[in-house]
């Protein structure tokens, strides 16, 4: 499976549930490695009932159908454009009293880049989601009960949102942010079989 992906000049990921590792690769070269704190299947279920989800077969190649790397972007646009003025003309118009030094620092303040989120979902082509998170859902009764009440209230108001089942990869916050931009449409994730 990997040989087929590695023939192409793309970045892909390899998820190894047994070693709890997510690797970023290209041409079979390991570019980066992220340690996982947990791998779980997350489904939305009523509080006091539930059913075990049927997982896809492994090994498999999952492809991201829509990812936050495509959608979580800031858009900037000047309000209007003024006619081009060459630097020479500008100098003629506004004579500099002293010669300017070669810039060595941030002459113009760069647009601040937003920090990537620490929890996000990517939709996979098999109908599942890949949930990247630094915190797995709570498994104690009171937080679960409060979450159920909150969600019930939202649904009563027509604001509830159903999400498909997800394979959740728990990792450190910095790692969640580090791989955020790789979660783009078309990125392939090779999932190795569990022993």
């Amino acid at each position: 499976m990997e040989a087929a992906i590695a023939k192409r000049p793309v970045v892909y990921m390899v998820l190894d549930p047994a070693r709890r590792v997510l690797e970023v690769r290209s041409r079979s070269l390991v570019l980066d490695r992220v340690a996982l704190e947990g791998i779980e299947v997350v489904t939305e279920q009523p509080l006091f009932s539930g059913w075990p989800p049927t997982l896809p077969e492994l090994p498999a190649t999952w492809t991201i159908a829509q990812g936050p790397g495509d959608t979580d972007r800031e858009i900037i646009a000047p309000a209007e454009l003024r006619p081009y003025v060459s630097p020479d003309q500008e100098e003629e118009a506004v004579p500099e009293p002293t010669p300017t030094a070669v810039p060595t620092g941030p002459a113009a303040t760069p647009t601040p880049v937003p920090e990537p989120p620490s929890a996000y979902r990517a939709r996979l082509d098999n109908g599942w989601d890949l949930l990247i998170t630094d915190t797995l859902p709570a498994d104690t009764l009171i937080p679960r009960f409060l979450a159920a009440v909150h969600d019930g209230w939202q649904r009563l108001r027509g604001l509830g949102e159903s999400k498909p089942p997800a394979v959740a990869l728990a990792m450190a916050k910095e790692n969640c942010q580090r791989i955020h931009h790789l979660m783009r449409t078309g990125t392939e994730i090779l999932v190795l079989p569990t022993p």
């Binding site: 990997e2 040989a3 590695a6 000049p9 793309v10 970045v11 549930p17 290209s26 041409r27 079979s28 570019l31 980066d32 779980e40 299947v41 997350v42 489904t43 939305e44 279920q45 009523p46 997982l55 896809p56 077969e57 492994l58 498999a60 972007r73 858009i75 900037i76 000047p78 309000a79 209007e80 454009l81 003024r82 081009y84 810039p103 620092g105 941030p106 002459a107 760069p110 647009t111 880049v113 797995l136 859902p137 498994d139 009960f145 159920a148 009440v149 909150h150 969600d151 019930g152 209230w153 649904r155 009563l156 159903s162 959740a168 580090r178 791989i179 931009h181 783009r184 999932v191 569990t194």
Partner: protein
């Protein structure tokens, strides 16, 4: 003392013990608790909460091949992967941590701080045309190398500054911004120098990879044309 002057029918009323308001309030309180609790239970029953369960996947059966078949397949796969792996000099760019690493035959020979794309989208207010300032992902190759490069500023460079791009192509040339060397990796993406050294290590570019002077010269001298560049 007043009972002496009360008529007999009222005497009985006064002698009756006071009403148990405390008990009534307690019962009301209990009722409120039960109603609120019931309401919460109903809401909780409506709700769907994320529930985690162990990741236990089914292993796809491939006709249960014998050990010899499995061994042969493994050897073939290893050979196929070995064929596509890079040899000689290659560059790896980590666009989150803003690091450029130069390897030769798998050994790290230079680890440099760089600047990569912001990921921001710029929109032209005249026609809605968009540019995404991403450093591309995947594998590219060094297509050509240039000393003292001149940058032909594309339209976005003017739009970003709030200006209409000039019609005269000569107005687009900039001999200062790219530094002393440039390694072109296709589609207008370049590994080049920068005037703004203090911004190295940050995501500030329009997709190109900026390096400091010494690192740029090292990479220019040690990464020949055809070197593979892995960007992630």
């Amino acid at each position: 003392m007043f009972t002496d002057i009360l008529p007999p029918e009222l005497e009985e009323e006064v002698a009756r013990p006071p009403r148990r308001w405390g008990a009534v309030l307690f019962v009301l309180f209990l009722l409120a608790i039960i109603l609120a609790g019931g309401g919460l239970l109903v809401l909780a029953r409506f709700g769907r909460i994320p529930t985690a369960s162990p990741f236990i996947a089914r292993t796809a059966r491939d006709g249960d091949p014998d050990a010899e078949t499995l061994r042969r397949r493994a050897v073939q796969a290893t050979a196929a992967l070995e064929r596509v792996r890079p040899n000689g000099a290659y560059i790896v760019v980590d666009s989150y941590r803003n690091r450029l690493r130069l390897y030769r035959d798998g050994d790290l020979v230079r680890n440099a701080v760089c600047s990569t794309g912001t990921g921001i989208v710029l929109k032209d207010p005249r026609n809605g045309r968009q540019w995404v300032f991403d450093t591309p992902l995947g594998e590219r190759t060094v297509e050509r190398k240039v000393k003292n490069p001149v940058w032909a500023k594309p339209d976005w460079a003017f739009v970003e500054e709030g200006m209409i791009p000039p019609k005269d192509p000569n107005e687009r040339f900039d001999g200062d911004s790219l530094g002393n060397y440039a390694l072109y990796i296709g589609d207008g993406y370049i590994i080049h120098g920068t005037l703004f050294k203090t911004l190295l290590g940050r995501r500030v570019t329009h997709g190109c990879i900026r390096l400091g002077d010494e690192d740029l010269e090292f990479v220019y001298r040690h990464a020949p044309i055809g070197s593979r560049v892995f960007l992630y």
